[in-house]
């Protein structure tokens, strides 16, 4: 990628990873919908040849198709919401919305590592970071910690006000210490490492009132 500064390359990387994850998820849902609807079709074809399909089984399969369409729709909505992040260019972002969105998209990646994500979020909280930077930071934190987490475990993401900062903590059972995030990356975002027993702990800049 020529003529891009590290920040731009970071955004491109985030868009690539988010798109890859979301499209994998959508493709998987479509594959299941395809198999189930073709099975229904084959059962009806057999019915036309005299082997009557079980109505309960048909209802069950149709119910599952509807459920998987709903899941695919949620995945598309998440991808669309992420695409709209690029329009939020202000210096602060809605952290609760950002965490919910990024964790929703990352959930499949976590599941492939056999890790379940749980969120512990306040009602509302903003951070003093542009939305895309906050999302980039979150993605990187999750990717780093999930790789080190014990398979079959639960990884809890906790976001809360902490003095004059915002604390982001990832808590879970680790197989090894997660790789440290590059200090240059954290400095670039104005983020400081936190102190505590979490697998990863960061102090994020608070949202400051502007104007006035």
């Amino acid at each position: 990628m020529p003529d891009t500064n590290p920040g731009q390359a970071g955004y491109a990387e985030l868009f690539g990873q988010v798109t890859r994850n979301a499209t994998h998820e959508i493709k998987n849902e479509l594959a299941v919908i395809n198999e189930q609807s073709r099975l229904i079709s084959e059962m009806l074809e057999m019915g036309a040849k005299g082997r009557e399909p079980d109505p309960d089984r048909l209802y069950q399969l149709i119910g599952r198709v509807i459920e998987r369409v709903g899941r695919a729709d949620q995945a598309v909505k998440r991808l669309n919401a992420f695409a709209h992040s690029a329009e939020e260019t202000g210096p602060i972002c809605d952290a609760v919305k950002g965490v919910t969105l990024i964790c929703g998209i990352f959930a499949r990646q976590a599941a492939l590592h056999n890790v379940t994500l749980e969120l512990e979020l306040p009602e509302a909280l903003s951070v003093g970071l542009p939305t895309l930077d906050f999302e980039r930071l979150l993605w990187r934190c999750l990717a780093t910690v999930v790789k080190a987490a014990v398979g079959g475990s639960v990884l809890r993401l906790v976001l809360q006000s902490s003095g004059d900062a915002v604390a982001l903590r990832l808590v879970g059972e680790m197989e090894r210490a997660p790789d440290a995030l590059p200090s240059q990356f954290l400095q670039e975002l104005g983020v400081r490492p936190g102190e505590g027993g979490a697998a990863l702990e960061l102090e994020l800049p608070p949202a400051r009132a502007t104007g006035g």
Binding site: R20, T23, H24, K27, N28, L30, A31, V32, N34, E35, Q36, R38, L39, E42, M46, L61, R64, R68, A111, L112, H113, N114, G151
Partner: protein, 143 residues
């Protein structure tokens, strides 16, 4: 089509169930596994004409399952099925010894053709292995 034994491996129970039923409707005897570890256990215990293997799975992924399965049973015929095919992954799978690489949603009739091809190849390889063993024994005893 009779006595074609297939193991279908996928971490999505809905996908596994539908594909299995459709393959059964086409005369295959289908066994299933929800992850790579379970698949390797079943491969160790049973004889299959073909394995239909999802690429992205938790614990042991498709590529790792492919490698480990072929170490123990080199005549296994494995068809990788993935939600997101790329040329790179396809080439890697074939290099590791996969029979083929198909993208989801796959045409099931085409998949059945591949399974039949796998069965023919497995029988051929097993015959060759048996013949080689007999030749070796004859040579050893100077017959």
């Amino acid at each position: 089509m009779q006595d074609i034994r297939v193991l279908v491996v996928d971490d999505d129970p809905d996908f596994l169930e539908s594909v299995s039923e459709r393959l059964s409707n086409r005369g295959c005897i289908v066994d299933t596994a929800l992850d790579g570890a379970m698949a390797l256990e079943k491969i160790g215990q049973n004889l299959y004409d073909a394995i239909v293997l999802d690429l992205q799975m938790p614990k042991v992924d498709g590529m790792e399952t492919l490698k480990r399965a072929l170490v123990n049973k080199p005549s296994l015929q494995i068809i990788l099925l993935t939600g997101h095919a790329s040329v790179q992954v396809g080439v890697e799978a074939m290099r590791l010894g996969a029979l083929d690489f198909m993208e989801k949603p796959a045409d099931l009739d085409l998949l059945v053709e591949k399974i039949k091809e796998g069965r023919a190849r497995r029988i051929d390889i097993d015959d060759q292995t048996r013949e080689a063993a007999v030749r070796e024994a004859l040579k050893k005893y100077g017959w």
